[in-house]
Symmetry: C2
Subunit: 215 residues, 2 copies
């Protein structure tokens, strides 16, 4: 996973994935404008494997995180490069909950089920998915909604190695953290991660393992 | 705050605020490309007012959230409009922690101090700011970092009404939630909010008010 090199970053006048919108409106009599992005809604899943008392996460290289943590070298053509020997690609490796975007017209819980299978290799019946909550994953430039689920899995549900959808270029490692170490993991800033995994683990201890609260 | 109307949304070929980058790289021998955004790092502050035993939040209209929750009407010129009588602007009102972006070259804790004053009107000495943690606020298209602080304030620190920086067009209401109701507030999906406020409140109960854990 960490064999990542040949970085080049260019300004992208027109992206097929990031399409800015301009919103004009009047608030309290004052004309305003705000630039926003349309972003897919998403699902994230807290996975607890009770066979081995571990929390299941995914680990992957995130280009956007990597470039925010490195110095870049300007080239004559206006692009920038990165010395990956000085800034190891591990700087861009994040720990996240299993997740996916809502880009199919099927029930959201089925999209969650697909992601658990694709990324982590567990075949889990739909009725095992417990909805935890939902929130806006962004409020500044995008207002997309993220749906959080919880599932308890067992080793006999593991039917493949997971690793993401190769057709989408996904390259995902599965990481298991013993439940006894999850709280430390949440607050360890050396572990690069988004907020979803932090809230999800806190929720797990508060609601599924309240007996561990004081540890 | 909810007097919001005259919505018009247009595609924005080139935004001054949202500037896509294209990142080219090679992972495990395979050439890849990823579109990303440069976004400022940020600060958020959990504010507990011990004079009145309340948590202090900010409430504001977020255009990006609003347009993600409404149906739009296509116009002949390609723009879209929104019937704000059918989709009330309250759909775009969010509850958040006091927050700001890191766009000045001063210590991050001083930026947090400025935001608490600007948005909530409390003058708080720097040594009262306790760093909670930090995390990536996005991992897909942006890898920006968010720093979370905690402060306990008292009514005598309140020196102005707050409400945001009018020069930046900010229009912010302060909302106080009794500590006894904070947990319900976190999990209430009818309250539109980002994840930061949910994690922050959970952290508050786990670390500042552990005696309330089981309520």
């Amino acid at each position: 996973m960490e064999d990542v090199k040949n970085f080049r970053v260019v300004d992208c006048e027109k992206s097929n994935f990031i399409k800015p919108l301009k919103i004009f409106y009047t608030q309290n009599g004052k004309d305003k404008a705000w630039d926003a992005l349309k972003v897919h809604d998403s699902v994230v899943i807290i996975i607890y494997n009770s066979s081995r008392d571990v929390l299941v996460f995914v680990k992957q290289f995130r280009p956007a995180v990597y470039i925010s943590r490195v110095d870049t070298i300007k080239q004559d053509d206006g692009s920038v490069t990165i010395d990956h020997t000085k800034f190891p690609p591990s700087l861009g490796i994040t720990y996240e909950l299993c997740a996916g975007i809502v880009d199919k017209s099927k029930p959201i819980v089925e999209i969650a089920q697909d992601e658990v299978f694709e990324e982590c290799g567990y075949k889990v019946p739909l009725d095992r998915f417990r909805r935890v909550t939902g929130y806006r994953s962004g409020v500044g430039t995008n207002g997309s909604y993220q749906n959080m689920f919880y599932i308890e899995v067992t080793d006999d549900m593991k039917v493949s190695s997971g690793g993401g959808n190769p057709l989408e270029g996904e390259l995902i490692d599965i990481v298991e953290i013993p439940v006894s170490e999850g709280r430390k993991f949440v607050m360890d800033e050396a572990v690069v991660k988004p907020l979803g995994v932090m809230f999800g683990i806190q929720w797990f201890y508060d609601n599924i393992k309240p007996e561990l609260k004081s540890t």
